[in-house]
């Protein structure tokens, strides 16, 4: 008898749908029936999923970002653990510790970490870089040298989709690159006022704002994919985005290394900001649902599913024991970062709850947009935002 699983997720764009289809197909092959509830927009999908779980009519599985989004569902006893699957597939040995701990609460695994996304990639147009005589920078000083050259050659140096979330992502990229893993976790993890007030952080803040001079006036409100298109079309030199942006390049027929470059930039080596997606399972109502959940978890983490999914999604597999030769150049680089603990930084979502992230995001956005705001004021407001949420 077929096991039916209703899955709520927010993967609705072309590339994302293709990726989720990998799961659906593999699940069907394994004898299940996949019922797809796709709702665009992470907050929308999570709202529906959480409300249904609270209302006693939960889906079989629901998507979250790797991190703290589902903390309270665990505390409220609303989620089933996936310890059995984790033990059977030996996640301890094959999933990077930072990702594994992000799905673990009180010693139990409560979600399936299906992939890893790098959030702080620089994508460059090889054509523009060549015309401007710029080379791939090795540190943040060289970055601004390259941006100046691109500007001098008459291109838009930095393509930017200026929306709150991406402002925060650019800030995070700067934080990781200038202050390293230690600074990043001091900021989002410990939320340490001393660090925010330090000279090192002031350097982060001022570097972040330096980008403003390299962005074109049409940036505010632009969608990130339109910004990526500016690099693809050779109008702009660089774009800062998560690895999902590769999908845009691929769709335009471009190959990494040949048409565009990808690199992660840190003054402290490595500096790969690592997040991802997970699926969590509401407490099953009966044994039938529990079986479907177990089958779903097992299928999602199966090696061939992992590779096929990552290729479509632009991410990399969360399990490290798979054959990654079929992945592209950027993903190969990412696999290198993920294998070495010193080269990675847990993403924003893994370190701070959404309430804190959101409060800080408002301040980061105000600082970027309001040229009259001093760095002192920025620091003071950040300290409040990071420490004051109840």
């Amino acid at each position: 008898m077929a096991q039916t699983a209703e899955v709520i997720h927010w993967w609705t764009s072309g590339g994302e749908s293709a990726a989720v289809k990998v799961f659906a197909d593999q699940f069907t092959k394994a004898g299940g029936t996949w019922v797809d509830t796709a709702i665009a927009g992470g907050p929308n999908a999570r709202t529906a999923a959480i409300n249904r779980t609270i209302g006693g009519n939960p889906p079989t599985a629901m998507q979250f970002n790797t991190g703290k989004q589902f903390d309270e569902l665990v505390e409220g006893g609303l989620l089933a653990d996936v310890d059995a699957v984790a033990a059977q597939q030996n996640w301890k040995a094959i999933v990077p510790p930072a990702i594994l701990s992000a799905v673990t609460r009180n010693g139990h695994a409560y979600a399936v970490p299906i992939n890893i996304h790098g959030q702080n990639w620089f994508f460059t147009s090889n054509a523009v870089m060549a015309k401007a005589g710029a080379t791939e920078p090795k540190n943040w000083d060289e970055l601004f040298v390259a941006l100046d050259k691109i500007k001098a050659a008459g291109f838009i140096p930095l393509a930017f989709g200026d929306q709150k979330g991406w402002e925060r992502n650019m800030f995070n990229t700067t934080l990781a690159g200038v202050a390293g893993a230690e600074g990043f976790t001091a900021f989002w993890g410990k939320r340490d006022p001393a660090f925010v007030k330090s000279a090192e952080f002031r350097k982060v803040a001022e570097t972040y704002r330096r980008f403003k001079a390299y962005v074109d006036p049409g940036a505010p409100g632009r969608n990130w994919n339109d910004a990526a298109a500016m690099v693809i079309q050779g109008k702009a030199g660089m774009h800062i985005m998560g690895d999902w942006a590769k999908g845009e390049f691929t769709a335009a027929g471009q190959t990494p290394g040949k048409d565009y470059g990808c690199f992660v930039l840190s003054n402290h080596g490595g500096g790969y900001v690592m997040g991802g997606d997970v699926f969590a399972f509401p407490k099953p109502k009966n044994a039938e649902v529990a079986k479907a959940q177990a089958l779903l978890a097992t299928t999602m983490m199966a090696p061939d599913t992992q590779i096929a999914f990552a290729r479509k999604k632009g991410s990399i597999p969360s399990r490290q024991d798979v054959d990654s030769k079929s992945l592209d150049l950027c993903a190969q680089k990412a696999m290198g970062f993920v294998a070495d603990k010193s080269k990675q930084i847990p993403a924003n979502e893994l370190l701070s709850p959404p309430a804190v992230t959101g409060a800080a995001e408002d301040v980061i956005s105000a600082y970027w947009n309001d040229a009259t705001m001093t760095t002192d004021a920025f620091v003071a407001k950040l300290v409040t935002a990071l420490t004051q949420t109840l």
């Binding site: 997720h9 609705t12 764009s13 209302g55």
Partner: protein, 288 residues
């Protein structure tokens, strides 16, 4: 009179000029959406949003209606169309019926607690109703209304109540009391006066009520998402899936076509009810 003819015609020209310019301003966004929906993506990327399409194509419309992907199913927004209709008719009827009766009772009868009720309704009319979402989910799961068609209909009735009551009460309050007094002398009671006198006179305001409710309910997204259940997801959920995909390529022509398609029902209601306006008003004018 004659002496004024020249001046009058100048005023006429000014009047039409103003109306035409205003109409152009009102039509501009729709025009942008229409021409965009008829272009191919390469042409849209050129960025001349006001230019007519070089080679008009309805491909985006076909795709939006029948093959755009919203997650794994690639059946376009047609899937939600019937669902939206199923939600629309009972919800509009219910909310207007309850609102009209409540407004009528409040305006002319002053039953007990009327002042309080009206005060509460007034206050709620101003509250962002998303605030009620959470407790309502709890209440509905308690009575077993979650994720069902009746559930979403009740939700729309609940949140239509303040505005509906308000406009009906205001309208009925303006009706001459002599009419009602006469009817009562003739022995008509509460319901008879409502059915025989009030409703026929209320056609213009019913049209306004329909316009408000059709718009609000058809365009609702969050209630449909939370309360309707996945079998009854309205069209706006699919529209959102098409236009608000956060990552990945955006096909603006399909976005625009999907939006216009989704708006067709309220648009249609407006055009039809526009004529009813006139009739309702003509009927009202007889009472002079």
């Amino acid at each position: 009179m004659r002496r004024n003819a020249k001046w009058l015609s100048a005023a006429r020209i000014g009047l039409y000029a103003f109306l035409v310019i205003s109409a152009a301003f009102f039509l501009l966004p729709l025009y942008v959406m229409l021409v965009t929906s008829l272009k191919g993506m390469p042409e849209i990327r050129e960025g001349n949003m006001l230019s007519l399409p070089h080679a008009p194509t309805v491909a985006a419309w076909v795709k939006a209606w029948s093959s755009a992907c919203t997650g794994l199913s690639c059946n376009g927004i047609q899937v939600g169309f019937l669902n939206s209709l199923k939600i629309l008719f009972p919800s509009v009827t219910m909310s207007i019926a309850v609102g009209a009766v409540t407004g009528y009772a409040l305006s002319l009868w002053r039953p007990r607690g009327a002042a309080w009720l009206f005060g509460i309704l007034m206050a709620v009319a101003f509250v962002p109703y998303q605030v009620f979402l959470f407790p309502l989910v709890r209440m509905f799961s308690y009575v077993g209304l979650n994720s069902s068609l009746p559930g979403i209909i009740v939700v729309h009735t609940i949140f239509g109540l303040p505005t509906m009551t308000l406009i009906f009460r205001n309208y009925f309050a303006g009706i001459p009391l002599e009419l009602i007094k006469a009817a009562r002398v003739d022995g008509a009671g509460f319901w008879r006066i409502f059915g025989a006198i009030m409703l026929p006179m209320a056609v213009p305001i019913i049209v306004v009520a329909i316009i408000l409710q059709v718009t609000g309910i058809w365009n609702d997204f969050i209630f449909g998402l939370v309360f309707a259940g996945r079998e009854n997801f309205p069209m706006t959920v699919q529209l959102n899936n098409i236009v608000n995909s956060t990552q990945g390529e955006r096909e603006y022509n399909v976005d625009m076509a999907a939006t216009i398609l989704t708006a067709l029902v309220p648009l249609g209601v407006y055009f039809i009810s526009g004529r009813w306006f006139v009739r309702g008003i003509a009927a009202g004018a007889v009472k002079g």
